[in-house]
Symmetry: C2
Subunit: 517 residues, 2 copies
Amino acid sequence: MNGAQALLRTLAGCGMELCFANPGTSEMHFVAALDAVPDLRGVLCLFEGVATGAADGYGRMTGRPAAALLHLGPGLANGLANLHNARRANTPLLAIVGDHASYHKRFDAPLESDVDAMAGAMSAWVRRPARPADVGADAAEAVAAAMTPPGRIATLILPADVSWTDGAEPAPPADVRPSAPVADEVIAAAAAALRSGEPCVILLGGVALRQAGLEAASRLSVATSARLLGETFPARHERGAGRPPVERLAYLSEFAAAQLAGTRHLILAGARPPVSFFAYPGQPSTPVPAGCRVSVLAEAGDDVVGALAALAGLVAPDARAVPQQAARPALPDGDLTAQSAAAVIGALLPEAAIVCDEANTSGLWLPGATAGAPPHDWLTLTGGAIGQGLPLATGAAMACPGRRVLALEADGSAMYTISALWTHAREQLDVTTVIFSNRRYAILSMELDRVGAGAAGEAARSLLDLSRPGIDFTALATGMGVPASRATTAAELAAQLGRALAEPGPHLIEAIVPPPF
Amino acid sequence: MNGAQALLRTLAGCGMELCFANPGTSEMHFVAALDAVPDLRGVLCLFEGVATGAADGYGRMTGRPAAALLHLGPGLANGLANLHNARRANTPLLAIVGDHASYHKRFDAPLESDVDAMAGAMSAWVRRPARPADVGADAAEAVAAAMTPPGRIATLILPADVSWTDGAEPAPPADVRPSAPVADEVIAAAAAALRSGEPCVILLGGVALRQAGLEAASRLSVATSARLLGETFPARHERGAGRPPVERLAYLSEFAAAQLAGTRHLILAGARPPVSFFAYPGQPSTPVPAGCRVSVLAEAGDDVVGALAALAGLVAPDARAVPQQAARPALPDGDLTAQSAAAVIGALLPEAAIVCDEANTSGLWLPGATAGAPPHDWLTLTGGAIGQGLPLATGAAMACPGRRVLALEADGSAMYTISALWTHAREQLDVTTVIFSNRRYAILSMELDRVGAGAAGEAARSLLDLSRPGIDFTALATGMGVPASRATTAAELAAQLGRALAEPGPHLIEAIVPPPF
């Protein structure tokens, strides 16, 4: 058995089922071995950033890694931005990078580059099996590394000769380290803070934003008047009617500072300490107020939900979680704006929908408009590297057949990885994409002012402009096999979205909206 | 003056004129400063790989660097694949990566990543100015580093606070190290080889494939019967009627080995030692025959043309270069194939055209069909990282207004950086794109067999297939503002290409061709 065959069998034996692939010559033995391992399916993506973003979406929804198969250093490079987002999402993900045959590297062939340096920039674990006999064990360890709580990027660099040479055997799954229990004294300290009578905020992140964590947190809030906040960009937030609601910490640091004003105890449950997304001249790097004590109840890799439940057992033994009441906006009429589009989405969002939110500035009204919609998952741009939404939707849809995926996309962001639409069509995924087409990098128009860069001139403004020429997203979608339509009024969006959500397979709706500011 | 302003003024003072940009918040002061420095123009690209590929095209055609403005680590990551190609092309290129404010980095904000590791993987020179007072000198040194023969990638990482803080001043241009003269004894040794009577091949690369180098080489060939070959993937090959012709070393190593069979002296003039593009089981890594002595007349950073001229002065003082005779194929009729498409292109290629060749397997017949066309430049996929052609055409067109650019694109490769078409439209560039649409990764179908991966099954073949769904490139082009048409016969391609080349502005022609094998 050659290395490629042993690798695939090991991954399948570890329960992996999907490999999002954009292969090249050095991966041909891996590709050839796929037919012998039907449990692991290859899914073709036309760009590596689609493959890594899809693996992120799959990992967020299943808690298990998908593989992204990448070709040498440049293929890895193309996948790095969405690996960055996956790393920030704590997604379990296995990147497999084919490399030149080990003896060939010293010849510095045209595609040779420093794969290891690039892999290290985005991976928690990197290994390069040196011989076929190592592949099985290294692959099993790679999966275990990816599964290490809360989830990690593991990168396996597979030299072509290790792939094609016989002498390999599959390895059984390796042990996965469980999440670390939180010590009683840490829970007691949090309880003391909550009982202090001083203003407390519990900042929830990671798995704390799923049902069980939200319920424990809600009980804490009911019993102690601690306020709950969710991290700004969660990997996966379970929300909607029947689930305890949590407002997210604002993206803009001055708004986040207002949310945290007066807080004396900030208790982190699976969330990292708040930080301004960017630095601004004369502004602090963190919105945490002076005099506020920040303490860690549980880090993302700890047993976050267990810690919240234990804490609730101490300070809120009799409290009951308060669920979000069902409520939907009325279907709006009139102009199509980011605000009325949010109302349409809130009015029509199907139960168990998975929302991949890369709407950026156009998404400002979405949380409010969808808060009382039927229960759903909300996946966000965790690492800030745009071009995530359409690939993420690909992987989420493949992870959850039968559930509707709604990709909410800013126009500028959509163009980074637009070829994901082709995979939506090829796999006939139930993904409905809404493009918020405001024909500018609206967030940069705002940031240009916020950084104090002064009154921008024509040359500066032109770098934020997407109107010359305007992009026809319906043409792009149909060109890649995705049925598409354009909405210019709220009623048109409602009709088109309703129809798309009722039909199987992918759709794209280009929503023509003015910039929000 | 803040750091951004000093940076822009320094670059303009060094003669730089274009910045291909996909900026973000950390680059807003750079963007804002553009209006004050009109000599340096920002050109918006919708993806960083377009920006770096365009800077490569500009650098190849001018010998001077353009800037690529990238946003933090993920923006750099998206640009790395085409930086890799530029590095292999020895293109002078300045990457400017905005980073978080220096004091903000320790907070590990969502977009934080190891910028320096990724920059180092593709750059010959990396610097991060620590304070505004350093920016001017660092920028001047960056330009000089990029201009160091034969041309290099220099990356300047600009922290946001260094960008926005006052206390900077522009710096004058720094000295650029000239190319190194080749020692007389090296030239004498090459002369001895050429006079030995044993079979000699001179392998030309880099600037040796421009007019002056080709003429000297041709004289050597006439006087000594040495054979000339060009490197497999030149950055810029000046060819066509009136210029000495040079056949390129084949991509497939067994063909390259046949070209080199019997050679006793392989003399490298600006080219690197031949190496197989990939390794194959049981095959050697280099096509150079046993017993062949490989010697370096001039490395790429040496005075390659001077060395060839001096050598010609020694061994071919009276010889005259033999130019290619003008000859064009007849316009074909009948089926559209990669072969008949090549004939159409050879028949219609305008004088002084710049061809950006990423046609891959469909390009097999292009060199022969265009050999006797009017003089033109041929730019190739130097580093093997696909997704280069459309961005390269962007930069070449901006470098050479008044010249026609022809982007010859494989369908699979085109999808990597398809948004370059939008910049073609925005800048109304005289770029005609021909997509060879064979609806598969044809090169991988070939490589799957060549690597000995066995009879591929359905799962393997599906990862090489682009037919489900077929991509409508005319829809993609018109959706981004580029007029487009589809050709299904040789006559249609001829009519459409003739029309496109006669009109100003960009065009795209989707040429439906069968796979070549």
